[in-house]
């Protein structure tokens, strides 16, 4: 039995310890907002936070989460109120939408570390997240917009 917290909820799972955290989240805990894209930490679609750090959950064995706090897109806010989500809505970022959870989760760590990022900071933080639809120009705008919202006191 492996215990950890997901989106502030305590969970215990009985799975093979080699199982990537991604599949435990998606299949055992039914949190399907975190996506499978490559299985080798190349695309970032599976990005979640473990103790506030961005982690590619497709290559992180579930044991890496043991005793820690995991946050997924579902836990970022209950109501689309996180500045990144509000900016994503305002700029209308997603196309197919499949990679967007990962993009947002990577961007959330960036904004915690650098509240007012430059284009270069954004590029560096999100270079591990592929978007095949090519929403990058709007992602860039939306991360800047979220930073503005946070600066104006809409942060969390």
């Amino acid at each position: 039995m492996i215990s950890f917290s997901v989106n502030k909820r305590r969970v215990n799972v009985d799975v093979d310890p080699s199982t990537p955290l991604l599949w435990v989240l998606r299949e055992n805990l039914e949190l399907t907002g975190t996506k499978y894209g490559c299985g080798m930490a190349q695309c970032g679609a599976c990005t979640v936070h473990i103790d506030g750090q961005a982690v590619r959950s497709c290559v992180a064995p579930v044991t890496r989460a043991a005793g820690k706090e995991v946050t997924t897109i579902e836990g970022l806010s209950p109501d689309l109120s996180h500045p990144l989500q509000r900016a994503w809505l305002e700029i209308d970022v997603p196309q197919c939408g499949y990679c967007q959870s990962g993009q947002i989760m990577s961007a959330a760590v960036l904004l915690k570390e650098i509240p007012n990022p430059t284009d270069e900071d954004i590029d560096q933080a999100l270079t591990g997240n592929i978007c095949r639809c090519g929403t990058y120009p709007r992602i860039r705008r939306a991360v800047h917009r979220a930073a503005e919202m946070m600066a104006q006191g809409g942060g969390r």
Binding site: T32, M40, C43, L89, T135, Y136
Partner: protein, 724 residues
């Protein structure tokens, strides 16, 4: 693979009225509403909800649900089509929702006469139909209100989800009228708005599907879960055309969570409680394959064969004047070979399909672009009638053509797995499975010779194209292939708009056992690269400015010319740039839309290329949502740049050498240029927008690299450091 072979038989063909596939006839505005109603969903069947036709439901809570018959794969149909209907309905946009359509002939594509999404056609082909659906509902709501007030309907108008009696200013919301409108007979004919009265169409409204794509709640095929569902991962032949010789599944069955290991036509399926057990089980299989006739297939000899083919006479796809005669009288000549590789669609969501197969019915959940074909394939495998099979179309994590397969590969395979599973089952493809699964953009080889006259003007252009037909052996062959020529292989060349007096394009269909398919922008993905690079070569040969030469040769093609001039103007064509930077230009029409792009690149002293800026001009005629158009074109440029710089699938010993994003890379955010999109506003007939932004990206950049370095890029992908 057996499944591939089987699927190449035109089993699907007999059931689809082939002659109807490409009949380009769009219903005239205000026409009769025929084939508009869903059997069993007549308005009286659901009194509480007003369901005037197959495309809209109005609830007593004022909600307006638009039922969308095209798949949402990022291109915005869940927003654009509701906008069209809501505009004619005079709906309150904040109350408008969307719902994917079930599979039913009423939801067939109005032009292709099957339920499908592709060819950049969704918005324009459904435009009149969705207007009529909205207008019919509006007329019934007005009648219901007039009856309630006992007034003449002519004295009533609609506004923002409300019917208003103008004389008395009485108002009833659509929700308040839903029940009484539901008891009325739908009108046989409706009057449509004057386009100048459109309130929603033409505005950059926010997408309706953004919330569920921002909070993780949107359901893609891979997210589907039904009670008792198992997960399967399939081992397929590493060589196309290979067959299973033997399998030892002992170690696979020993993996905890593995329930069954079964043979299916495409290989061996490991069925387990979840993905990880199924994949570990699949990895533990010991399989011997009979690799078949493709066992020694390799890209090097394929290229040599194509080069030989290009020297033979081909099938004439375009002929103006006398190209072979004129070449002798050219003042200067140039010869070139252009090449593009096999490409994977590489949607972010790998292929998957969930099936719940029962004795008398079957439910399928998947992100497909080809509902009618997939349903027929599934019904055939299950031994059911098509009506007993329902497909729930989920969100698609990208499509780009891969989920529109005449062979229904991922659905058919899941059906075979479901038959053996004895429980609901979802087949998940790993990224590697997806990349090795075939149905690629074909590899093409172009051989060209051209010449200019003494004034430097193009005199002759002779062009040979070698490559596989996408539709050969499918149900589409009989409608798309004309005189032996698959139009999707030469589109963009058989209609070169340049005024060149002697012009010849010949096509050489190559027969190769690699499954191929349409890939975002289809033939234009390679023909535009070649055409727009080679016209640039002719400009250089004749000592002309590449923009001015195109202008001159497009004098009689006003829409090509319009986007060309717009892109050049916005990009500042001809204005000085910092050292090392240069511009390249390209113009191309596809899917009944016109695009031009100017790329600005920097090549540093080490030969590293950086694309700084791409300026796009698009003319897609009358449009619905310019915000979505901007996003589609930006994304298409990035899609085109990815192919230009990075991607190729190559074969060695019958096996594809690439497998995942480490060796089949995608353009990333740090490599993405500024992309500006300018939309021409006019009242021309609408064209497509999902694909037309792709074709110009590669040639605009390649031409800019030539301008910067004098080095001509004739082979994709361009190897950045080898380029200069």
């Amino acid at each position: 693979m057996n499944a591939l072979r089987e699927s190449r038989k035109p089993s699907v063909a007999g059931e689809i009225p082939r002659r109807d596939f490409l009949k380009l006839s769009v219903a005239a505005s205000g026409g009769l509403l025929i084939g508009f109603y869903l059997p069993g969903m007549q308005p009286e069947a659901q009194a509480a909800t007003f369901a005037p036709n197959a495309f809209v439901r109005i609830g007593t809570d004022d909600s307006v649900t638009v039922i969308v018959n095209h798949s949402e794969m990022g291109q915005g149909v869940f927003t654009a089509l509701p906008m069209i209907l809501a505009d004619e309905l005079d709906a309150n946009w904040t109350k408008v929702r969307f719902q994917p359509a079930p599979v039913d002939p009423v939801y067939n594509h109005p032009v292709f006469h099957m339920q499908m999404t592709g060819g950049s056609t969704s918005t324009w082909s459904s435009f009149d139909q969705f207007r009529q659906a909205g207008a019919a509902a509006r007329a019934m709501l007005i009648t219901a209100a007039a009856q309630r007030w006992n007034v003449d309907a002519a004295g009533c108008r609609t506004e923002n989800g409300t019917v208003i009696h103008s004389a008395s200013n009485r108002r009833l919301s659509y929700g308040q009228l839903a029940e009484s409108a539901a008891r009325l007979t739908p009108p046989q004919q409706v009057t449509l708005k004057d386009p100048k009265d459109f309130k929603l169409i033409g505005k950059p409204l926010k997408r309706l599907d953004t919330p569920e794509k921002t909070n993780g709640k949107g359901i893609f095929g891979i997210d589907v879960k039904v009670p008792g569902m198992l997960t399967a991962v399939v081992a397929r032949s590493p060589v196309f055309g290979g067959k299973l010789k033997s399998v030892n599944a002992d170690k696979a069955k020993a993996v905890k969570g593995v329930r069954k290991v079964v043979e299916v036509p495409s290989g061996v399926a490991v069925i387990a409680d979840g993905f990880w057990a199924a994949k570990r089980g699949r990895d533990a299989l010991q399989i011997e394959w009979d690799e078949g006739p493709m066992a020694d297939f390799n890209s090097k000899s394929q290229r040599e064969q194509y080069a030989e083919l290009a020297k033979q006479p081909g099938l004439s796809a375009r002929k103006e004047g006398d190209a072979s005669g004129a070449i002798g009288s050219a003042a200067k000549k140039i010869e070139a070979v252009y090449e593009v590789p096999y490409l994977s669609h590489a949607m972010m969501e790998p292929l998957n399909c969930a099936v719940d197969l029962r004795a008398d019915r079957c439910e399928i959940w998947t992100g497909t672009q080809f509902q009618t074909v997939d349903r027929m394939s599934a019904a055939g495998i299950a031994g059911l009638k098509p009506e007993q099979v329902q497909i729930h179309t989920t969100l698609l994590g990208g499509g780009f053509g891969r989920r529109a397969n005449p062979a229904s590969d991922f659905v058919s395979e899941a059906m075979h797995v479901a038959k053996a599973a004895g429980a609901p089952v979802k087949v998940i493809w790993t990224r590697e499975d997806d990349m090795h699964g075939g149905y690629y953009r074909p590899m093409y080889y172009h051989s060209l010779i051209a010449g200019v006259d003494a004034d430097g003007n193009p005199l002759v252009w002779s062009h040979h194209v070698v490559g596989q037909s996408i539709v050969a052996g499918t149900a589409f062959e009989s409608v798309i292939v004309k005189n032996g020529i698959d139009g999707t292989s030469v589109e963009g060349l058989d209609d070169i708009p340049y005024a060149i007096p002697n012009l010849s394009v010949e096509y050489h269909p190559a027969k190769v056992g690699v499954p191929v398919l349409w890939w975002r922008s289809v033939g234009h993905s390679h023909t535009a690269f070649v055409k727009e690079s080679f016209i640039d070569e002719l400009a250089a040969l004749g000592g002309k400015d590449p923009f001015e030469l195109r202008r001159k040769l497009l004098a009689k093609s006003p829409r090509d010319l319009g986007v060309l001039e717009l892109a050049a103007e916005k990009a500042g064509w001809g204005k000085p740039l910092p050292a090392g930077r240069a511009r390249g230009i390209a113009v191309h029409a596809s899917f009944e839309s016109y695009t031009a792009q100017v790329a600005e690149v920097l090549v540093d002293s080490g030969g590293k290329i950086r694309v700084h800026r791409v300026v796009c001009a698009v003319d897609c005629g009358r449009y619905v949502n310019p915000g979505i158009i901007e996003a589609q074109v930006q994304g298409a440029v990035i899609f085109g740049l990815t192919a230009a710089f990075y991607d190729e699938l190559t074969f060695e010993k019958g096996r594809i050498q690439q497998s995942n994003f480490h060796d089949y890379p995608m353009l990333r955010i740090n490599e993405t240029p500024e992309i500006e999109v300018y939309i021409v506003k006019n009242d021309e007939k609408s064209g497509g927008i999902g694909e037309p932004g792709v074709p110009c990206a590669a040639p605009a950049v390649a031409n800019a690299i030539f301008a910067a370095t004098g080095k001509r890029i004739r082979k994709l992908p361009m190897r950045m450091n080898e380029a200069v």
